[in-house]
Amino acid sequence: MEEIVRAEGLKKTFTLSKKQQRIERTAETRRIAVDKLSFSAYRGEIYGLLGPNGAGKTTTLRMLSTLIRPDEGDAFLCGHSIMKEPQRVRDVIGFMTSELKLEGFFTPDYLFDFFGAMHGVEKATLAARKRELFSRFGIDKFSEVQVKNLSTGMLQKVSLVISIVHDPEVVIFDEPTNGLDVITAKVVTDFLEELRQMGKSIILSTHIFSLVEKLCDRVGIIIDGRMIAEGELKELCGELSLEDRFFNIYRSVKGDVQ
């Protein structure tokens, strides 16, 4: 199997503000969000990062997408270092997260062309890809509607197609089905499976067990910024369900669930 993503000892700490210190009743000034995290993802597989809120999943994905820099460690996507070649990394990845928004004034049609140009996609290729993706997701009927007037589901679809406008090798999704209705969620998960069949590598973060069981080939369980367990789903769970296995691991690390 061809290794497409390799994270090596990623570490990220954040400074706690006085307000945060007060709220959390702590004297510590720095918080470790991700602690020496290592994992690999291969071509044509969906890799899931599973963990509770605040475990460091989103921070890990933000480091992989070069929006933030790790304090220690490095990661390689299609052989490009996030530390040394962030611009080249951005060319081979598509990143979708609720943090990245689309300007409400513009239409999906305009934004697709704009972000295509941002990734240096040729006009003819861009036009063909727009036709294909807009039709696939039913965006074509809304292509001239301002983004601010789209429904949440349609907006999520538009965000999805724009994040992969340049046909990236690695697709990084932070909570891909969050806030979606069941129909849109199904469209998104089906498309992720389609991307896998096309040989793309997908890394997603989630706290939804069923999503991991349905989609992921391999999974990494993160708690308090550390990779506690990792492997193929069957290998990791054995006879247990993912949920039961996760809580067994969680209890061994954090004690009882409160």
Binding site: S17, S65, L100, K101, E103, G104, F105, F114, M118, H119
Partner: protein
């Protein structure tokens, strides 16, 4: 290609939103309407005046110029040779004469150091009106000399030429307002809404994103500044009470070219400043707060610019002040080629440095993604 797309996006955002276009053009239209009404109120109902003015010294060309300028307003001047200074002063004091103009020796032939002394009565409306016209005309007279004015009676002297004197200040203020409106929304607004992050997640180099903001926003702000500038320039002659032709003819083509260059250099400098501040701010509200402070600073600097002639050549190093000083001297009909060109050059350098700083800020995780 990426830079072009970024530039086109800003233009598309602006030119496809009628509200933004109105916002940027409205100040110019409003200024024209307001100043025109003020001008009509001052000069519209006025009866033509015949000024009685004593003249001392051989300055036939300058006197003819002032005379022609006054005639343009529909008034006339009766020039009388000054024989008894005390008697003439007494006449100005009791309102029988309107002013005394004393030109230094061989005024028309003197290249430097020439002076004009204007004696008038600030308490008399007619005498004050002549003083305003004479001073405006002398400022437009293409020669280097000092105007020394003296009012024989103290009075409230709010000269109408105040508008002309404060033109550089007005220009800078209008430019700043235009820049402020478009830039804060485009940079701090995008940052607050999370749309700037989406662009940062693409492979567009950070420096292109900086330039992709500063260049189009400068063009858009220049349109707003031009609208405000035209609004003032077209209405100012009405306030002073002269025709547009006389007003426009006060400066040579070269002077207008330098003025255009100076304005052209200020716009990107102000845009780059507000862009940098907006990129630093977390919200539009915060950016507006910072920018307001900078605007006050710029307005103070622009007002100080009125005295720039007495401040020495080092002012060309101070952004904004350099351009204001040069503009002020241009309006006085002085030749300020090197001051103007150095100011333009330095403003371009300052703009480039700010673009560089903005690029660094776009790469800063703390600034762009800090909570």
């Amino acid at each position: 290609m990426k830079l072009l797309a970024l530039i086109k996006k800003e233009f598309h955002r602006f030119f496809h939103d009628p509200r933004l276009i109105i916002t940027i053009l409205l100040p110019g239209i409003m200024l024209y309407v307001i100043y025109s009404i003020v001008g009509t109120a001052i000069n519209g109902e006025r009866e033509p005046q015949n000024y009685k003015v004593y003249v001392d010294g051989s300055a036939e060309a300058a006197v003819a110029f002032v005379g022609a300028f006054v005639t343009e307003t529909g008034d006339t001047v009766e020039w009388l040779p000054l024989e008894d200074g005390d008697a003439a002063r007494a006449e100005v004091e009791n309102g029988e004469a309107d002013a005394v103009l004393i030109f230094s020796e061989n005024f028309d032939e003197t290249a430097q150091g020439a002076t004009v002394r204007i004696l008038y009565n600030g308490a008399e409306e007619k005498s004050s009106a002549f003083y305003t016209l004479a001073e405006t005309a002398l400022n437009m007279y293409g020669m280097r000399f000092a105007v020394v004015s003296e009012s024989v009676k103290s009075a409230e002297e709010i000269g109408r030429n105040l508008f002309a004197g404060f033109l550089p200040f007005l220009i800078v203020t209008f430019i700043f307002s235009s820049c402020m409106g478009v830039t804060i929304e485009s940079v701090a607004g995008e940052k607050e809404r999370g749309t700037l992050s989406t662009i940062l997640a693409t492979s567009a180099p950070r420096y292109q994103i900086s330039i992709g903001k500063v260049v189009p926003l400068s063009c858009i702000a220049a349109i707003g500044a031009a609208s405000s500038f035209l609004g003032v320039v077209l209405s100012l002659p009405k306030v002073i009470g002269v025709s547009l032709g006389v007003f426009a003819g006060a400066m040579s083509f070269g002077g207008y070219a330098l003025l255009f260059l100076l304005i052209l250099s200020i716009v990107p400098l102000i845009i780059a400043t507000i862009t940098t501040v907006s990129a630093y701010a977390k919200t539009v509200k915060e950016a507006t707060g910072y920018t307001s402070v900078i605007m006050i600073l710029v307005m103070v600097v622009s007002l100080v610019g009125a005295f720039v002639g007495t401040m020495g050549d080092w002012v060309v190093c101070i952004p904004i002040l350099n351009a204001v000083g040069a503009m002020g001297m241009l309006f006085e009909g002085k030749t300020v080629i090197w001051q103007s060109l150095v100011s333009v050059g330095l403003n371009i350098v300052y703009t480039a440095l700010l673009v560089l700083l903005m690029t660094k800020m776009l790469s800063s995780e703390r600034i762009m993604f800090g909570k």
